[in-house]
């Protein structure tokens, strides 16, 4: 039975998550179920559960995770005080006189905002809170809107200074600086690919991405005024937050806290920091923090049991007996990481799978830096893919209930295609 636990547990969690029971508890429940089955079969030791308090404590005191509520709060303050709406509308007025311009603005802002956080939950949530109301109100089709936002929100996984790249560098023994440098070109190609797609939609399906009617009415001094009042201050805030991380002046956590205070200060200067806005921002931050962190706790327990039942060994064994050399290895590793990305937090992938992958990759003569980039783009794609992509979960949390999840899945498909093309290109590149 021993060898079967990995795949069976994998299937089990799939089925249980699909029932619609909250994912955090379905993950934990699957873990419990399989720990009992495993114990009965003599393949699992319940003593492993003694690690749980320490794991929980690890989540509590995790300095990096602390950046999540900070960036969510910064995003919700910008949203609830309507600063973000003003910012995007101003970008919309600048670009929106063209069809699809608003979506291009979102992709640009998305790459900027996402790079500031590098935490997929925080960036997708912030992007959704900021961009979705503006796009929907201006007549963008809901599927295009959701696709653009969820894809743009994941750009931070690959665009430096991505936390994904830092952790990968650590796990693979590659210089983080080299990873950052290598990531710039694929990051720009992805951003460009998204933009091209939006331009294509604007040309061939104009009513899906309409020009903003009001955009053309604003010209001259009025336009300049809007730019100075609504565009420059929040853009400066984002750039300072981003720049301080880039320059190594502040950690992402510090930058998030300062950015939150900065957002409140900007809102207060415009007289937009009302009590209602503050309360609403606090409420949303609470709700999303509970959701994100408990999801992590659930996946921690799942991973504990999965490893306890030697599911990780099952994966390692599969990898070491592959036909097809380097190409076969890359294809299989990519499929595994892609599928795991549905369930397991990125950090779990980095700590469980990546170390297993390094040794065979070296034997096959693959460049580890580019392998890291491939894994990062892959995980980013996985985060975007229905029905399990975490990016979609987080976006679902801030999407109005009348928009169905199916619409979201439809909207994201073209962006997944772009991701797969780039991923394929990277695989060809590493095998050159």
């Amino acid at each position: 039975m021993g060898a079967l636990w990995g795949p069976v547990m994998f299937l089990g969690v799939l089925v249980l998550i699909f029932t619609g029971y909250p994912v955090a508890f379905a993950l934990a429940g699957t873990a419990l179920l399989f720990s009992v089955l495993g114990t009965l079969a003599g393949d699992f030791d319940l003593i492993l559960f003694r690690a749980l308090p320490e794991r929980t404590f690890g989540v509590m005191s995790n300095y990096t995770l602390l950046a999540i509520p900070f960036f969510i709060f910064m995003g919700t303050v910008l949203e609830k005080s309507r600063l973000a709406e003003d910012l995007l509308e101003t970008i919309g007025i600048l670009f929106g006189r063209f069809r699809g311009g608003l979506a291009l603005g979102v992709i640009g802002v998305g790459a900027l905002l996402a790079a500031a956080t590098g935490v997929v939950g925080a960036s997708v949530t912030a992007m959704g809170l900021i961009s979705m109301p503006v796009m929907l109100r201006n007549g963008y089709k809901d599927d295009l809107t959701l696709g653009v936002i969820s894809a743009s929100g994941t750009l931070g996984q690959i665009i430096p200074p991505s936390i994904v790249l830092i952790v990968l560098g650590d796990q693979m023994g590659v210089s983080v600086g080299a990873l950052f440098q290598a990531a710039i070109v694929p990051g720009l190609i992805l951003t460009g690919g998204y933009a091209l797609y939006v331009v294509g939609v604007a040309i061939f399906n104009p009513e899906a991405a309409p020009a903003m009617a009001e955009a053309r009415d604003v010209t001259g001094i009025a336009l300049l005024r809007r730019v100075v009042v609504s565009l420059i201050p929040p853009l400066a805030l984002i750039l300072v937050v981003l720049g301080s991380i880039f320059a190594g002046v502040a950690t992402p956590t510090e930058a998030g806290a300062l950015g939150s205070v900065g957002a409140m200060a900007l809102a207060a200067m415009g007289g937009q920091m009302t009590t209602a806005a503050l309360r609403s921002a606090m409420q949303d931050t609470t709700r999303l923090t509970i959701m994100v962190i408990f999801l992590l706790i659930g996946s921690t327990i799942f991973t504990l049991v999965f490893r306890g039942l030697e599911g990780d060994l099952w994966i390692a064994e599969m990898l070491s007996n592959l036909p097809g050399g380097a190409l076969g290895f890359l294809l299989v590793v990519n499929v595994i990481v892609f599928v795991l990305g549905f369930f397991i937090d990125f950090f779990e992938i980095a700590f469980i799978i990546v170390p297993l992958v390094v040794a065979p990759a070296q034997i096959l003569g693959l460049d580890l830096t580019w392998l890291g980039i491939i894994l990062a783009v892959n995980i980013q794609t996985s985060f975007l893919t229905p029905p399990f992509g975490v990016s979609l979960f987080y976006l679902r949390g801030v999407t109005p209930p009348e928009i169905s999840t199916t619409r979201m899945y439809r909207g994201v498909l073209p962006f997944i295609a772009i991701q797969l093309v780039v991923l394929g290109g990277l695989i060809v590149w590493i095998l050159r």
Binding site: A28, G29, P53, T285, T286, F294
Partner: protein
């Protein structure tokens, strides 16, 4: 049954009170976090040692209180994310079945397990009045005890949740769902 419903109502109200309180911790956490960021630089460049491990600990203590104590409150308001591909197409009764079975088989045993494995380490920490490993840091034993409080609240909320699903399935009691459609319900 009436007594049980009364008790469930008490649990709901307790967790709602907690939910209302932890929202203010978000603001405090942000302010302490920003203070810590600034203090690190005043210490380095002006020698003005504002920075302290107590404040560094305080920011993640607030973080802990928010997500741990909020878990039960989140269950009451359906904040925990679902894969709703099938769920959103189900009838109210089918959803109640999913929630009933999931809560009884997953959530309640999970909360019980966390209480079971955590009480001894927490007790040990409490009995030695465990301090912070960093000089000037905050004591560790109270924040570790929050793990027990949190999963006790989650367990109680799980029981209350079970009762609500049973009521829905029996077609009796309070039919009003506090937040229909749930965690997917969009921005506040």
């Amino acid at each position: 049954m009436r007594t049980l419903r009364h008790l469930a109502g008490l649990v709901d109200r307790l967790n709602d009170r907690i939910g209302a309180a932890i929202q203010w911790l978000v603001l405090l956490m942000v302010l302490v976090g920003a203070f810590n960021a600034v203090a690190r630089y005043t210490t380095r460049y002006t020698g003005l040692a504002l920075s302290s491990n107590a404040y560094l600990d305080l920011q993640w203590y607030f973080f802990t209180l928010i997500f741990l104590l909020g878990a039960a409150y989140g269950l009451n308001h359906d904040y925990h994310v679902r894969v709703d591909v099938l769920y959103e197409k189900m009838s109210a009764r089918k959803r109640a079945w999913v929630d009933l079975i999931g809560t009884v088989l997953f959530l309640i045993p999970f909360s019980a397990l966390m209480l079971w494995v955590s009480w001894r380490p927490v007790w040990n920490s409490w009995s030695i009045r465990e301090a912070s490993p960093d000089p000037g840091g905050l004591p560790r034993y109270p924040i570790k005890a929050v793990i027990l409080v949190a999963f006790l609240l989650l367990l109680l909320q799980g029981l209350s949740h079970t009762l609500k699903q049973v009521d829905i399935l029996r077609g009796s009691g309070d039919e009003t769902d506090p937040d229909p459609g749930g965690a997917m319900g969009g921005g506040a």
